[in-house]
């Protein structure tokens, strides 16, 4: 056997290995989805979506949970996106290489790895108690914003880095100021990448239960929140609550609620993919 034959076999072997890895992930996901769909799909109807929580599994609904989740999502996006993108732009475009910027960079990278429950404890002390927001939607959204900020900052920087230097040079050469260059060239050109980061981070925020339980998000809320200062519950807490019940019917409710949560996440991703697609069509170099 020649050396090149051997290399060809190795190549083939690695290809098979790669395919196996890909399918393993997909199969696990498929099994999970099919299991959830079989268990939960039959339970979803209009009443389930528009009813309040109840001790009777068949009468219980997720109205307050999904409305709470939407509130949290919108508020978190409003807080985290401007802060995260601005921080990313600063670090990438303005910050000089210095001890301070190194320090900031290391810390942001570390923050991305902090367990979410720690953010919950921080949120409880700072937002709920010190700032006096109470166990409100706003306190929850601030907490989750902290949680997702590192992801947004890092992806923003990566997206900006990917913009070709020639675009920047051309803009500056035509007399645009630094700010004009960033606002009219860099940001539009990198919007697709930034959007991806934002969606990934919001999808993560939607699935969090632990930090919200710590800051005092509730399990039983018999009213739909009407302002950012209202108390709330979210879908993951409702699911967590139902999964730990002894009665089988609650487990079915949990499966149904998971389907709704997945639906919200997919919807979000769908919107992002669409926006990115439109954006990419506009940007042509």
């Amino acid at each position: 056997m020649t050396n090149s034959d051997l290399n060809r076999y190795k190549d083939k072997a690695f290809q098979v290995f790669g395919i196996c890895c890909t399918f393993l992930g997909l199969i696990v996901l498929a099994v999970f989805l099919i299991d959830i769909l079989i268990k939960g799909l039959g339970r979803i109807d209009w009443d389930f979506i528009t009813s309040l929580p109840s001790r009777r599994a068949m009468r219980a609904g997720i109205l307050t949970a999904w409305v709470g989740t939407l509130w949290i999502l919108v508020l978190t996006a409003l807080i985290a996106i401007p802060l995260g993108v601005a921080a990313g732009v600063y670090l990438q475009e303005y910050a000089r290489k210095s001890r301070l910027s190194d320090f900031l960079e290391i810390n942001i990278a570390n923050l991305a790895g902090v367990p979410s429950i720690i953010y919950g404890l921080l949120g409880l002390e700072v937002f709920v108690r010190q700032m006096g927001l109470g166990e409100s939607l706003l306190a929850g959204a601030f907490t989750l914003s902290l949680l997702v900020l590192p992801i947004i900052i890092v992806t923003t920087r990566e997206a900006i880095k990917a913009v070709p230097g020639s675009i920047r040079d051309a803009s500056l050469a035509l007399g645009a100021s630094k700010w004009q260059t960033i606002w009219m060239q860099i940001l539009p050109a990198s919007a697709g990448g930034i959007m991806t980061g934002v969606i990934l981070s919001l999808s993560r925020a939607v699935g969090e239960a632990a930090p919200l339980i710590v800051i005092g998000a509730l399990a039983y809320v018999p009213f739909v929140p009407e302002s950012p200062l209202d108390e709330f519950t979210v879908l993951p807490i409702q699911i967590f609550n139902w999964v730990s019940r002894p009665q089988e019917e609650f487990l079915i409710n949990a499966a149904s609620a998971i389907i709704i949560l997945l639906f919200i996440t997919f919807l979000l991703n769908g919107i992002a993919v669409y926006l990115r697609y439109r954006q990419q069509k506009k940007v042509k170099w």
Binding site: T50, L52, P53, S54, R55, L63, V67, L70, W71, V74, L75, L78, E135, L138, I213, V214, G216, A217, L218, A219, Y220, V221, P222, F223, V224, E226, S227, P228, E231, I237, N241, V243, S244, R245, P246, Q247, E248, L251
Partner: protein
């Protein structure tokens, strides 16, 4: 600071849905006793996830009595709830154990007076795999031998517990150390709260323990009665003998009756709510607690727990009334 513009897309649906709820509430809720109809305000509850189903059921029923009162219930655990309670952040705390000394002194520091009201029982049930044909009963001393901290690494086979049991590995399943269930079980069996061997499969989620015991022929585990009750086909409950004949002779199985009359000892435990004295100046809180005590018997059984004897509820109502009187005067 926050603009209210982003409320608008949500508000329409909120109104729509809110309207529907209001309508249905009006349809069903009229014709009850009139006392609570005009109440408004808020009752804030947090604490044990074990007690949560009862409080949720009570809150749900209370809505038709007093639709104007916003009752909210959290699940930060007995410890987390107690912390909030002793800071005066909530009106009522759900507790699956009594308040401990630290919590009591913290409440005293913040000038918080409170009353402890038992609302139902839970029977911690010792279970084995359904095909386990050797365990007919177990004594508290044997349970202690199995679960004591000294047992770690030494008591690992069934025949070490009782010689006639088979020479097979013993696999243990139990509540996680953060739960009130663990505290109660160790207190009742080992004799010291929060002290046991560490080499067992621990989970805060009782459904995981059910899964574990029901698939392992050499398993022994414990969890709340409701989880056994719902999974009777997959599990076998073990009668427990406390070797004290004054409260029932021999080994006793947990059931609605034996837990209620106290013969299933020492593993039947009371579940509590604690009420803050500064909260009971508000009529909606008083009304809610009274409603709780009036309906706890029926509702606790509906969600899988065991009611107290009727006279105990009567006694709690009287105690609570006195507590309200003395708190209002101050």
């Amino acid at each position: 600071m926050m603009s209210f513009q982003f409320k608008i897309p949500n508000l329409n649906t909120a109104f729509l849905i809110g309207g529907t709820i209001l309508l249905s509430a009006c349809g069903g809720g009229s014709g009850d006793s009139g006392s609570g109809e005009n109440l408004s305000g808020e009752v804030r509850i947090d604490g044990s996830s074990t007690v949560y189903p009862i409080t949720e059921a009570v809150a749900e029923e209370f809505r038709s009595e007093s639709p104007g009162v916003r009752v909210t219930v959290g699940v930060s655990g007995t410890g987390g709830g107690m912390k909030k309670f002793s800071r005066g952040e909530i009106d009522i705390v759900d507790a699956s154990r009594s308040m401990n000394e630290n919590e009591a002194s913290m409440a005293a520091e913040n000038n918080i007076k409170y009353i402890e009201l038992p609302v139902a029982y839970d029977g911690l049930t010792v279970v084995v795999h359904p095909e386990n044909d050797w365990v007919k009963d177990i004594t508290v001393a044997e349970l202690k031998k199995i679960w004591a901290p000294e047992a770690q690494g030494t008591i690992t086979r069934w025949n070490q517990v009782r010689p006639e049991w088979p020479d097979q590995e013993l696999h243990l399943y139990g509540a996680g150390v953060e739960s009130g269930t663990y505290d109660y079980f160790t207190e009742a069996i080992v004799g010291k709260s929060h002290s046991s061997r560490g080499d067992y499969t621990a989970s805060e989620d009782d459904n995981v323990l059910v899964q574990g015991v029901s698939t392992d022929p050499y398993a022994l585990g414990f969890f709340g009665f409701a989880y056994y009750d719902e999974n009777q086909g997959k599990l076998k409950a073990v009668p427990v003998d406390d070797q004290d004949d004054s409260n029932g002779k021999g080994a006793i199985l947990p059931s609605l009756e034996t837990v209620k009359d106290g013969s299933y000892a020492p593993l039947s435990r009371p579940l509590f709510i604690y009420v803050n004295s500064t909260a009971v100046v508000r009529p909606e809180v008083v009304e809610f607690v009274n409603f709780y005590l009036d309906n706890a018997a029926e509702l606790s059984e509906e969600v899988g727990y065991i009611q107290l004897p009727a006279e105990r509820y009567e006694e709690q109502r009287n105690r609570f009334e006195e507590f309200v009187q003395s708190s209002v005067q101050q």
